[in-house]
Every structure is written in structure tokens, then in C-alpha cells.
Symmetry: C2
Subunit: 348 residues, 2 copies
């Protein structure tokens, strides 16, 4: 099979075809006012017809901007795990980037290499800004990025950091307070929390919400009811098993993600129990597309907040920070809503 070897048109060729200077063609395409409307139309039409698009490499060098946003996603060394929420978060962000002409540069990197990755991105001038994923308590990346003077937005927050930064987060503390309160008010007293890893900021906030609710209702906190770990399905199942087989099993369990909740459900069934009858389960739900439950009464009672929306909000914030530097930093707090499903019931 033979095909014509297509080579892309460049500005010079296009300007020769049009018998105009490169300057005029460039200005016409970029919407400068110095070009007559008649010329602009002629240029646009020729560009369209030639399938011309400015060479990204040249444009970037000339403008001094990368028109790219970096996402540095940590891959846990423990399970080589990529948190499943990234796909949906990025789906949300990506749409916004496309609208504003930014490319998305993705780097998956082991925790311990994150620092050098950011430094390298800056040294190479490869991106105009970055999104920081999975912030830990006292996350040192924030100071680093401020030092590097690279615009960034954090998906989540980092407790203990005093400097200002842009962030988009869900009200983890409030959501888990509400979830716990709901269980308490429906009669539960032995409530367990299967949480994320202790060093993660979101996990700490969730635990704080949980403990605050217990405290407000005068229920003693017990280490026995608290689990922390990487949020896999087997982790959910294993933790729940341990809870259910232990002395004084809880009557309610709060799970930190749908994946974990699925593991919990498996344990519940393996123990011959019935969800929502023998034991209540509340989970946090990031509204991932492949778990989305549109029923009027969803399976899991859950605090739901769309991580995809967090993605679009983060993108907006970051683009704004890139294009209008020296602005005040912003924080956006999304509110998770508690939606009652079939997995909870008042304690008999």
C-alpha cells in the first residue's frame, strides 16, 4: 500500500502561498487587531485548507511558555498502586486544559522520587504549572514548589503547612463527622473506621471528624476500631474480617472508599451477615464512573463528592494562577453529601 508522504505545512510556506509576511499570517491566526478582517478570513481559510497548525515546539520556544500542565502522580511502593481516583480526577481536569490549549503531562513516580521529578520539570521548563496529588500531613512538596516558583494547585490540603497555596479539597472532616453522627443517632455505639494511610492528610481529617463525633456523643474512642492502610479491596475485606471476628465486633463500619467498601461487603457476606440488617456500613464515595449508582436508594449509604468535579475545579484554579501570576492563593472546599442507602439501618 502506498500513501502520499504528508509533511505538515509551516508558517513560512503558508505565508508564501498567501503572499503575505509571516508576521501578518501569525497575527491573523492569533487574533491580533492589526489585521484587516478581509485578510484574516483569507488566512484562516488557507490555514484550514492546508491543515495548518503552528508547530508546538516552535511556539513554545518563541512564547517562553510550555502550554503544558504537569501531574505528578505517586505510585505507592508498597502495592505499586495507583489510586483509582486519579483517572476520574484527570478526566475532569483534562477537559478544561483542552479548552484553554494546555497539554497534560503525566508522570507516575515512586514516592521517594517526587522531589527530583518536580525539580527536573522546572529545570527543563517543561510545564507551566503542576497539580500535587495525594498530599500528606506536613507535605514538603508545597514549600519546594513555592521555592521553585512554579504555579501549582493541591488536590487536598496539607495540615501543618503555614504558607499559602491553592487547593481544592472535599470537607473530609465534616463528611466523616456527619457519617459518624448519623450512625450514632440511629443507635450505633460500636463504630469502626477503615481509613487510609495515617500519613495522608485526608485520612487524618477523616479520623478527626470521626473522633469528634464520638466525643460529642460521649462515646469512647477505641484503637481496636481503627484501621489505617492502603485502600485496596483486600484491605477492606481483611480489616472488616478482623473487626467482625474480634471481641466486641462493631455494629457499624465506615469505609474510606468504594473499593474498600466492596471489600467490607465481601467480609460481611463471608461471615454470613447481611449488610444493612446485621451490620451498617457507610462509605465515602468519589463518584467514580464505574461504580456510579444512580438508583433512588443506592446500595451504600455514602458521603458522596465527585472527584471529577474536583478535577475541573483544580484545573480552573491552576490555569488562573498561571495566567494571572501574583494573585492571592485560593482554596475551594467541596461539600460531600450524605446519601442514605441500603447499607445502614437503625440498631435494633
Amino acid at each position: 500500500m502506498t500513501r502520499a508522504l504528508k509533511t505538515t505545512t509551516n508558517l513560512k510556506q503558508l505565508s508564501e502561498i498567501l503572499k503575505l509576511s509571516q508576521t501578518t499570517v501569525s497575527r491573523a491566526l492569533n487574533g491580533f487587531p492589526e489585521v484587516s478582517e478581509k485578510t484574516r478570513q483569507r488566512v484562516l481559510q488557507a490555514a484550514e485548507q492546508q491543515n495548518y497548525a503552528p508547530n508546538a515546539r516552535a511556539k513554545r520556544l518563541a512564547t517562553g511558555r510550555s502550554m503544558a500542565i504537569g501531574h505528578v502522580v505517586p505510585v505507592s511502593t508498597e502495592h505499586e498502586m495507583v489510586n483509582p481516583i486519579f483517572a476520574d480526577f484527570i478526566a475532569g481536569a483534562s477537559a478544561r486544559y483542552a479548552q484553554s490549549g494546555y497539554d497534560l503531562l503525566l508522570t507516575l513516580v515512586a514516592d521517594e522520587d517526587e522531589f527530583s521529578t518536580y525539580k527536573d520539570l522546572v529545570a527543563r521548563s517543561a510545564v507551566d504549572g503542576v497539580v500535587v496529588h495525594a498530599p500528606k500531613i506536613n507535605d514538603s512538596r508545597i514549600a519546594l514548589l513555592n521555592d521553585l516558583d512554579l504555579p501549582f494547585v493541591v488536590h487536598g490540603r496539607s495540615s501543618g503547612i503555614t504558607e499559602e497555596y491553592n487547593w481544592v479539597d472535599v470537607n473530609n472532616e465534616g463528611a466523616f463527622f456527619t457519617a459518624t453522627e448519623y450512625l450514632i443517632e440511629t443507635g450505633h455505639k460500636r463504630i469502626a473506621l477503615i481509613n487510609g494511610q495515617t500519613e495522608m492528610d485526608f485520612a487524618m481529617r477523616r479520623m478527626n471528624g470521626y473522633r469528634r463525633a464520638l466525643a460529642e456523643y460521649g462515646i469512647a474512642f477505641s484503637e481496636q476500631y481503627l484501621f489505617a492502610g492502603e485502600m485496596t479491596e483486600p484491605y477492606g475485606r481483611h480489616s472488616a474480617m478482623q473487626l467482625l471476628q474480634g471481641a466486641n465486633p462493631p455494629t457499624a463500619i465506615i469505609a474510606s472508599s468504594m473499593i474498600v467498601a466492596n471489600g467490607v461487603r465481601r467480609a460481611v457476606h463471608d461471615m454470613g451477615l447481611e449488610l444493612g440488617r446485621d451490620i451498617s456500613v457507610v462509605t465515602h464515595d468519589d463518584d467514580l464512573s464505574y461504580f456510579r449508582d444512580d438508583s433512588a436508594v443506592p446500595v451504600f449509604t455514602a458521603t458522596r463528592s465527585s472527584v471529577r468535579e474536583a478535577g475541573t475545579k483544580s484545573a480552573d484554579l491552576l490555569i488562573n494562577a498561571i495566567e494571572k501570576p501574583n494573585q492571592e492563593k485560593h482554596g475551594i472546599l467541596l461539600k460531600a453529601k450524605l446519601k442514605i442507602g441500603q447499607s445502614t439501618a437503625p440498631l435494633k
Copy 2:
């Protein structure tokens, strides 16, 4: 808080510091033989000390290469869903890209916009190659990319395409043949398949494997036992419900992914049945990190193949295609292994 405004060193400054020409410095850094070892060491040391890295934008323009690989990931319009396997696939590929100095450019795009996305990437010269995800039967993207003369590798294959192309796939047909055969040989005759969308190539191959096994063992195929749809958890649950509540319910179900299998398990339990006792379930398992089941006898009997490995293999293939053009196209077939778990049992 005040910080020194760091501005990155460039080649000119570095060469002035070293009292060498830009040429020599550039050559020293890029390992050319014309530079004396003494000079090279001096240059490397200064570069290190100045935290110098060549400006990616300038380098790309000068070399005419983007040093970037594009992943165009389709987002289904139906459920706005991003297939959860992408994260793990990309995690596998990303490591290889990093080794070879490529950036990963991610674009999430609605099915119908894929064509223009590829064209745009080429017109802008934004990438040196792309990975094609989720190929359909007779996928027209392959001809497009060959026309555009852009190196690419397909994750999966596309039936009906006669031209050559690079691909990495798992033996879907064989795996599902094996799964079906295993069920038949343990006594099952009424076997259902909850498959992916009919237009997807992998789904067709899986169905073919399933039907071939039925045929070889003289079991009639029935439309009643075949489901096709986007592989969400609710889809798995809903399909299984319909199967179990229908006339002549199957004694075994084959699921197309772990997510679907989780939905199936939910349906099984909701019907008051026991997995592996009342009904057998086999699933395909992409070995996603957050579902990974390391137990000696895993929960699900499954045909397992690491999608992360597919990612690294694809990356190798693509990088090779980019760096050594005009080579023969390659196909790599990964073999999924059937691993017996607790979800299947001989039919009593």
C-alpha cells in the same frame, strides 16, 4: 516569607561560567566523543552545581523531536467512564518513558473527537508517537495513523484491519475459551457471558473463545446468556440479576473484568446464593493493584494477565518504532493464565 527568585541557568550562562563555547558544553553534556574527558568532567560538574538541565522547549525545536508520547484515552459518552485499567497500563508505560527521556502527554477525549485529536497532535508536532487505546473492530484510527505517518502501538488489536501495525494484546480468545472449557469440564452446561461492548475488539474475541468452547463441547449457544455493555459494577450486578431471575438460570457466569465480577457477586448474594457453591463465576483479571489478590487460593477463579506489563511492553515497542523507523511491525501476545479460586465448583 521571602525567597530568592530562582531563575534557571541556560546554556549560554553555563558556557560563560566555564569559559567555553556553547558548542563544547552542549557536546560535553550529550556525550559526544570530540570533547576531552577532562573538559567533560569539568562541564558535568558545573552543570550539576548550577542545577542545569537543557530547556526542553529549545531542545525540542532544535532537534525536531518532541520527546513526548501521546496517549489518547477515550471517555465513553454513555457513562463518562474512563476504563479503570488505564491507570495501571500507563503506570507500566510511564516507567519506560522516563528511562528513555520521553514525556507522557495524556489526552482524554470523547469517542467522536478522537480523529481530530490525532490530527491535531500531528499538525502541531506535539508527540513522536501515540498509544491507541480500546481498539474497536475495524478501527479506523489505524488507517488514519498510518496515513499521518505517526508511529503508534495499539493496546489490543483490531479485527478486519489488513494493514500491519504494532500491537500488544492478551490472548482474549484463548483465555475465554479456556475459562469456558474449564466450566464445561466441571459439569456446567448453562454458562453465561457478561461481556464488554459489542463493538470492542477484545469483547468480540472473548465471545468467540466462549462460543468456540461451547461448540466444541456440543453446547448450544443462547442469546439469553450473553450480555454486552460498558463494564461497570452496576452493569455486572444488573446483568447477573437478570440471569439469575430469568427462566433457566445459568449455573456459571463468566465476567469480563473484576469490576463486573464484583457486581455479579453482589447479585449472587442479593439472591441469597453462595458463590462457588450455588453458582460458579470466572472473571478476567487485569491484575489491577487495588484488587490484587495474592492468596494461594484467590477469591475469584480468573484468567489473569497484568495490564501493567502490557503497558511496559507497549512502551518498549513504541520507543523502538520511533527511534528505528521503517522497521517491521511487531505484535506481542501476552498469555492470560487461568487460576482456580473459590468462586467455582464442579456442578453437582
